[in-house]
Symmetry: D2
Subunit: 346 residues, 4 copies
Amino acid sequence: MIKVGIAGASGYTGLELIRILSRHPEVEVSILTSERYAGRPVSSIFPSLSGWVDMEYKNFLPDEITDNSDLIFTALPHKKAMSVIPGFLKSGKKVIDLSADYRIKDPHIYERWYSGIHTSPELLNSAVYGLPEIYRIEIRSASLVANPGCYPTSVILAMAPIMKTDLIDKDSIIADSKSGISGAGRTTDITFQFADCNEGVRAYNIAVHRHIPEIEQALGILSGEDVKVSFTPHLIPMTRGVFSTIYVNLREAPKPGYLLEIYKEFYKDEPFVRLMEDGKSADTHNVMTSNYCDIGIKVDERTKRVVLTSAIDNLVKGASGQAVQNMNILCGFREDMGLDTPGIFP
Amino acid sequence: MIKVGIAGASGYTGLELIRILSRHPEVEVSILTSERYAGRPVSSIFPSLSGWVDMEYKNFLPDEITDNSDLIFTALPHKKAMSVIPGFLKSGKKVIDLSADYRIKDPHIYERWYSGIHTSPELLNSAVYGLPEIYRIEIRSASLVANPGCYPTSVILAMAPIMKTDLIDKDSIIADSKSGISGAGRTTDITFQFADCNEGVRAYNIAVHRHIPEIEQALGILSGEDVKVSFTPHLIPMTRGVFSTIYVNLREAPKPGYLLEIYKEFYKDEPFVRLMEDGKSADTHNVMTSNYCDIGIKVDERTKRVVLTSAIDNLVKGASGQAVQNMNILCGFREDMGLDTPGIFP
Amino acid sequence: MIKVGIAGASGYTGLELIRILSRHPEVEVSILTSERYAGRPVSSIFPSLSGWVDMEYKNFLPDEITDNSDLIFTALPHKKAMSVIPGFLKSGKKVIDLSADYRIKDPHIYERWYSGIHTSPELLNSAVYGLPEIYRIEIRSASLVANPGCYPTSVILAMAPIMKTDLIDKDSIIADSKSGISGAGRTTDITFQFADCNEGVRAYNIAVHRHIPEIEQALGILSGEDVKVSFTPHLIPMTRGVFSTIYVNLREAPKPGYLLEIYKEFYKDEPFVRLMEDGKSADTHNVMTSNYCDIGIKVDERTKRVVLTSAIDNLVKGASGQAVQNMNILCGFREDMGLDTPGIFP
Amino acid sequence: MIKVGIAGASGYTGLELIRILSRHPEVEVSILTSERYAGRPVSSIFPSLSGWVDMEYKNFLPDEITDNSDLIFTALPHKKAMSVIPGFLKSGKKVIDLSADYRIKDPHIYERWYSGIHTSPELLNSAVYGLPEIYRIEIRSASLVANPGCYPTSVILAMAPIMKTDLIDKDSIIADSKSGISGAGRTTDITFQFADCNEGVRAYNIAVHRHIPEIEQALGILSGEDVKVSFTPHLIPMTRGVFSTIYVNLREAPKPGYLLEIYKEFYKDEPFVRLMEDGKSADTHNVMTSNYCDIGIKVDERTKRVVLTSAIDNLVKGASGQAVQNMNILCGFREDMGLDTPGIFP
């Protein structure tokens, strides 16, 4: 049984951490912070947790967090995260950071895309990118896990097996992603109001979204060469889910079923990756509230491209579920502990 | 570990039974029938269950079901249910029936509301109405549990404590219920298509819905006198959830907090009933995918009425979750086994 | 051709006024104010209006508004509205006010429900409640029209014909209303975010909603005696629409079809009221984006109650469409000018 | 005033034709056919049209249609359409066909993608592809207009200006489209039920969708050379709207604003095409229920690609609105007659 604190526990990812951890048999949630709701019972703000969480939100006091936690999840805005994490690490605590602050290895790239100085670049080297399907071994002994973004998780898992082959033109990768509105966070922004969003699809941050360098870094490491990716995120009128459709040029059309075999081999021991049969598409509805990433593979011989589809729940495998998976690995728990549920359908 | 069969396992309630039971530590799902999908793997129809259910749907053959099950859930249309349940009982199996066929004690009332002959009225006496908060003791030793309807569950739980008092005018009960579209079942009816339903609210079967005699029977037993209820169901554009708003005339306005105290006492040991504080309303979003029934109590001194609100997930506490709760009671398992999850928010 | 100004034109009702008036053949929209967006082109904030409105939002300057308008719509928060309307009237302009400030005739009642002093009670007498089906003649010569609330419109139109009869028990009226989220206005409130609202139904302000005195005043005048109403508003996950289900005790059950005849007679010349046949329910989907109010009438002989259903688009007949209808009456235009569209289905 | 018949008037596109034409000043709708609803009043099936359409659905009898129509819209399934259109043309009527049967000029290509014999290939040459922005002159004198598909409309309009330049690599076109569920038609298919679709995104018919040859034909003609396109359609949980995101490799990055100028010039006289400023994305919410196609243009200098976004209402510009636009052109009416409305927001 370990004691876990969550810094920033009233946004959607913090809330989802509470929900998942409230059922985790090896965890006691010991402290929850929220500037917005400090002093108020968690279950008065989120009555869905009534009967599960009997705590109040606290103001953010670093010492109080370290005193009460063996491991700390930071679900804070980027920049805010890196202002407190070095302190947590110094006090000997393990940290799993859901912000973007330690995902990019090169501080110059971070600073270009996130416009601002990185204040603890010395930690970037030891921080481990928390995608267990790629970095499980490194996560086991990490002090600081940089939990991946939702879009990168969906794109990197769909691309990883094929990046290691010679089958594709690595300059041709185009990722078109669709996200539910919870991906925008629990904000007061008027454009995420129900009536503004409903019945609308829109792209945003085309060609400049901050998840681009994160995707490019991971795909580049996998393939052993620099990679540039076109990435377009969209918001669609649903609560949860990220769906990515990825287009890649094939050097030559592989034999039928060959790609699926490569993917099956690559993911054969993975508890949270499922492959669709027969060229079928993934569907976010099938993974809702679960930690799965479903992947579909379709070869288009006519255009000599492969079209990959992947579906995750943005708040689970795309954020808090993956963070718990990382905690399980780091603490030596069974990897699916607290995450062993199928998707909700309907 | 018991073996459980589900007759009619490809509708929404059958599917939800599979989902819940796939995580139940004391149950092995042994046979699943579906006329529509016989011979096809469950996970090919419902990929959300991929990795959880490695079975094919079978045709409905009563002997095959009884040979392979210790306990049988029937999620069949009414009338179809009562054509097979007597046989299941004769072969010594316990049955939990999600249809309406054994909910109404008086076969004449059944026949009036469901237009048709009841073919096994001799079982009505021993069948137990499966609302554990009222009939837990009887459920323990039942052979046949008649699992309540979704609307009745939401209305009866909201009304039970006050029905036992002298505070209200029992002829004044009006229940206005709102249901997500999954409540209509997984049918091919064109009026439940997404585009037909979205952005629409409509009442249906006003004053003639078949859940009326079920509600009246339960409230009548609780109060010890005949009760007539006005009940109006509505469909609203969401997937899951039943919300009931119930209006009752008060003989006299009780002291502030008095009603809440009565409810707290009545439900003090119940694992799945939660009471809202301070006159707040329940919200279906707070119970989504969970087995909770949340209840709100608001006294309107101006009009001398009490306004009760209740929220359940129609597929969980309103159907399959409650059926599993009944199975747990009947089999001596911990009552919340397989049902111990908070609601999903957001 | 008249010049029309809109004070408060960036909320949902102001925006809907712009949309409707942009197609009105007798109106030139001359000035639009918005504190939030002053100086910015309307079509840059709301690209749906691109090609239709080539104006910028202005700061709120009363003189600029009166100088540029023959008639002014005020879509301002209550209290703010009554701080500027007396000035508009003094400068000789007609005003149609979408706030609540001049709807309640008795300033004491206003002050009790809206907690604050009414600063221009001398105008309450001459202000006309803008429900054309009841007050058409008075609207023709009004200077100040108090445009009704969305809930009151749906409840009063459903009740008006029967209030004038002796058929009902006037103390028994219960109105249960369901609103789309746009009814909450275009605010930054976090609880109206898409992900917070989706898949949720909740009641709010039970027994204390400010539309209660407005409903009671109108029904009281119609029936000639004081009336108390139980009213519960709910938010449901859709953009537009108000649906009201109203329960009333009948003194005796009328002959079949008798009530429908009364309603047909009452509304026989009304362009925007439609009656459902055969006891069918209204449906908000059928009136979406139109100015119709659809009404269904169902007698429940078993409980001796009548159940009325009514459906409007909360932003059209429940706000801006009705405001334009009032303008048409007041200015002598054809009453359906700019409003002559069927509902959008699907 | 012309008399117009609609063959197949109870699906979503037929229904939308009725809605639009009911407000068209130069049209009298004279006959509506529906096998499903023959003999029943239109407004009893679709109460949204109550007060607007006082007709009954008729069985499909070709002579009755030609006897009563000057112009016929066919909103029938493909193959069914080509079985009746030759007869309509022989009787001297103009036909606007919403099916796919006359869109593809080469019958072999049609037969490969639609698997079946084309039974009137002799009409393919004279049939005009009804995209007014490209074929307005030919439409004026057409007898048979092949109304474009929803996806092709959104893709071709976004691509047309740039196809005529030398700026792009024409083998690199990738179109990723997202459609509301009404695009699937008004069917009894269980997978389009509300609860199955809600909260789900899925691709379908990847690389094999029948709109591919239609897109390739149009882009090929525009560019003067054969073009192959990768096209992936997706279903998302909303009622109306098609959004396309299109990726094309640039031979060299153009000067800022250059592409927007090309598009402005190309569409400068078009009443129904709007261009987004400043690289902003289109949004389906902005065009809902209108005949607009909104287009956004974003150059990504980093990857040397242009990302185009386009948004239409699939039932209006993607089907019935465009069909009415074609009728207006063909009959010499003002092109926006009956279509002069802004989008509905919110």
